[in-house]
Symmetry: C2
Subunit: 541 residues, 2 copies
């Protein structure tokens, strides 16, 4: 027996329709790539999105076609997303920070037919366009006055292109499982893999992550999404904000402390979302200039962990609540946010910091479990740790063109590649990446925990831990250390420092001093390169 409710597909055009009708005067304020700050409204954005859809159709774009965007967070990028999805085409954000060859590989793999490009990236795309035979036209996100001379194929300024049509257009009609957006993950091994969001997944995800314990944005709030739209589906804020009628402040190309502060202060931003580096730059700027943040209430921080001292300073000096978040491109992208449930709401001091340092708990619609190597679910006791598996309507079920094969286990869970613990209140803590964890005698040792401990030693500048093959224990940890300038810490001294702070069997079997530890482009320790470097290493004795 079926319910007798209306068949009303969950479609992104309905989101911008809602914003246009019920929050039509609410502003979207952007620092433009051209320089000036530009104000528009949800109502005007909706009308332009209708024109984008109509204009794309005129250019031959059809249901399912991919339209690439290489752009900062601005109102034009929003209009493009809504217009593309309103036609049933697919927005495909390209990350301009990748190597040019990667960008070309990804655009070709996705078979992008058009590109919408910010002024900043015109030179980049000019260099790449010979490698992009499938791209039929480049729309430069600017107006006629700012349009540069360019060799880009069929190049046109966005505003000129839009002016050829009016907004008398009806959104496409299609199934809610229709593809809406794409974003590639750049794994450390193999080719990038395309995650394909549907209208349904974006709408459900946006609804669930705006619950009062999650982003909790109301129509009276002002959100500044510093996290770029090309980073992990822009944390879905391009949908969540109009759904809630929240004013948006878009930073455009400038993420330095002064620029971010100017927007936060001028437009009374109440809520923001960014990676930690942005906040470190902002804090430095605030301190140097003796400034405060009277309007900002909370900030969601993801991408990597926010240092405890920063979380404390935000609270104590600026009155801002830091909310750690965790997610993945494959999760649309949010999995957890660290808001405080009643059980932990009244903690203070270190106990408070311990909770704030976790990645938090999932909203309804994100299922999580931790399992051991045999697939057995582990206890949610805050101690046991295992592979973190996730399931939900906004979690990837497969990659584009079947790359990577079947990525789900027998129960439909996706392996995040993270190793984590979950405490009885549902707070999840990332312990390690599963490929970096050390497997010793059937038990797991967290390389990250050992590294964090070792860098506390006064002579240690940086530390990395990798597993080295061991005849009896399968793997044992090797601690690789970069000493501070002029220091030469002894093996036994380092191990003595760690003694008593970890389980005996976690103790590294050896310590090796090196001048340098290899890093990725984004500054993370490159464990694969380190393992290569030490592949001939054997423990003494």
């Amino acid at each position: 027996m079926l319910g007798l409710m209306q068949d009303w597909p969950l479609l992104i055009p309905k989101v911008i329709d809602h914003a246009g009708l019920y929050h039509g005067n609410r502003k979207v304020i952007s620092r433009s790539v051209e320089g000036p700050i530009v104000e528009t409204t949800y109502s005007a954005i909706r009308r332009n999105a209708l024109r984008v859809a109509k204009r794309l159709e005129k250019d031959g774009i059809r249901l399912g076609d991919r339209v690439g965007t290489v752009a900062w967070n601005t109102w034009r990028h929003l209009e493009a997303w809504y217009g593309i999805t309103g036609l049933g085409a697919v927005y495909h954000t390209l990350n301009p920070r990748l190597f040019p060859e990667q960008i070309a590989w990804i655009a070709n793999h996705a078979e992008d037919r058009m590109m919408m490009v910010d002024l900043t990236f015109v030179p980049l795309m000019e260099k790449l366009q010979d490698k992009l035979p499938l791209v039929e036209r480049y729309v430069v996100l600017t107006d006629a006055a700012n349009m540069p001379q360019t060799s880009l194929k069929n190049a046109v300024a966005y505003e000129t292109w839009l002016d050829e049509v009016d907004d008398d257009f009806a959104w496409g009609s299609f199934d809610e499982n229709t593809a809406a957006g794409m974003c590639y993950t750049s794994g450390t091994t193999g080719n990038p893999k395309g995650v394909v969001y549907s209208h349904r997944s974006n709408v459900i995800h946006s609804l669930t992550v705006n619950g009062p314990d999650m982003f909790g944005m109301a129509s009276k709030d002002v959100i500044m999404p510093v996290v770029p739209m090309f980073h992990a589906n822009g944390w879905s804020l391009a949908f969540t904000a109009p759904m809630a009628g929240t004013t948006m402040v878009m930073p455009g190309p400038k993420m330095d402390g002064a620029s971010i502060y100017e927007l936060l202060d001028t437009y009374k931003v109440t809520l923001s979302a960014a990676v930690p580096t942005v906040w470190l730059m902002l804090l430095q700027y605030l301190e140097q200039n003796g400034l405060k943040l009277p309007h900002l209430g909370k900030t969601v921080i993801g991408g990597s962990a926010c240092p405890r001292a920063v979380t404390e300073k935000f609270r104590d000096v600026y009155g801002v609540e830091v909310l750690h978040a965790w997610g993945m491109t494959e999760m649309s992208p949010l999995g957890t946010i660290c808001s405080l449930k009643p059980e932990v709401a009244n903690l203070t001091g270190d106990a408070w910091l311990d909770i704030k340092e976790t990645t938090g708990h999932p909203p309804f619609s994100v299922e999580m479990k931790i399992i051991d190597d045999e697939g057995t679910e582990l206890a949610r006791d805050g101690k046991a740790f295992g592979r973190l598996m996730v399931r939900g309507p906004a979690v990837a079920g497969a990659y584009f063109k079947g790359e990577g094969g079947n990525i789900l286990d027998d129960n439909g869970f996706f392996d995040t590649g993270d190793v984590a613990s979950i405490d009885p209140n549902g707070y999840m803590r990332i312990v390690d990446r599963s490929k970096d964890v050390i497997k010793s005698g059937g038990e797991w040792i967290s390389s990250i925990d050992l590294e964090n401990l070792a860098v506390g030693h006064p002579d240690v500048a940086e530390a990395a831990v990798i597993g080295i093959a061991h005849p009896k224990w399968d793997e044992r940890p090797l601690l690789v250390v970069v000493p501070k300038p002029g220091r030469q810490p002894a093996r036994d001294g380092v191990l003595a420092y760690m003694d008593g702070k970890i389980a005996k069997w976690w103790m590294p079997d050896d310590v090796v001093l090196v001048d340098e530890i290899p890093h990725t482009a984004t500054g993370k320790i490159q464990k694969t390169a380190l393992r290569d470097q030490f592949k001939a290493y054997r423990f003494p004795g």
Copy 2:
């Protein structure tokens, strides 16, 4: 091209799973029908819901079967709903306040196979059971110690019945469009009609109505749903609260001022939902006893309008924000909530009350429009009024067994039967019921506006306005007045009082004095009976 996200159906069992795992210690506190206040948790409720599902299966209940409930708001009623839906069966709430013949008609039409009945309603069901040949068993929602002697077929105490099974059970696996619940509307004409909620509609509705501008319940909140679960899907709070991890305080059978106050105060309730009469009783109790409401932050009021003086008193004396809400059984049931958007957030005095008196604005997923008799959409200017049409994933598309035929227009909109205006910010105001509006020369006159105006006359106790056939204008308004004791207001005096306060052409063509105006069981003016009474009436001249 389809998205590549996981196929994760929106099912109610996932809601209680989420609450059990991530908000497991959060309490559900109920005033039991037996008397004592009983505390349990989402975790324990989930385990019992698994047992309900397993036990129902043992009794032969299968996917799609209807299980009736005649019960107050308690933890056992919640367990029953989750258990029934977890099996893919359908909870069917029966309103014990209806006439017994109506209850029997509805249970038979729904083909309920089992009944879960509170102690309060055992005598009622004993009288009715001969008329309910399809009901195979009555489960009395109590324990062995409180189980009464009863003639109910296969009667068993809920706790005894549950004790026959453990909680080792896997929720059913089925499509998200599977029926989950039923509630009949008791229209003023024709037989009651069954609205059939799906898992999908309940989940989406619960997500959207808990947005920060709507209920906005967080895990730190404490909600008291005074509105009964048998009234319009219980305003969906049985799903919204566990989804958000909000503590629930259930009033059981006692809705008097003292009982409600005891729970509000003892359990520090932060948010509530009820019809106005409950709050009038509470206010009287507070005033008589000099009490305050230090914990309650806001209360959602629906079912009928909350008088302006009550809204003001709640704010000024008790610091409680009243949020008007509007909805229908056919809308799962919420359509709008009157929270304040930035455009109206700073209003004061009458302007503030004018907005607070509207029914508010819809969340994403509720589409509204107003149309004239030709189906043309009318302006959202706060002045034009027309038939209120709604569309959305939690709006009825048909009634059970096709009663009433096709209930949607060509664009898939459902006619609410209300006449309304919508202002530029999206605030909706109910002007009249469409069957009561007076159609004069192709224009509409609101009977409610005329009645509200007429009762302002010092000699008028009650007023009703109906349309009377008119050779030239099609219909013209007749004002029917019950004078205050000992008064005899003259026709011309009443009309003179109204003059200047309404458009000239709205002026009633005549005024008739009567001793009494007919009312429905719930106290509303029975316009059908009044029209019958005046069907021979002709305007003078």
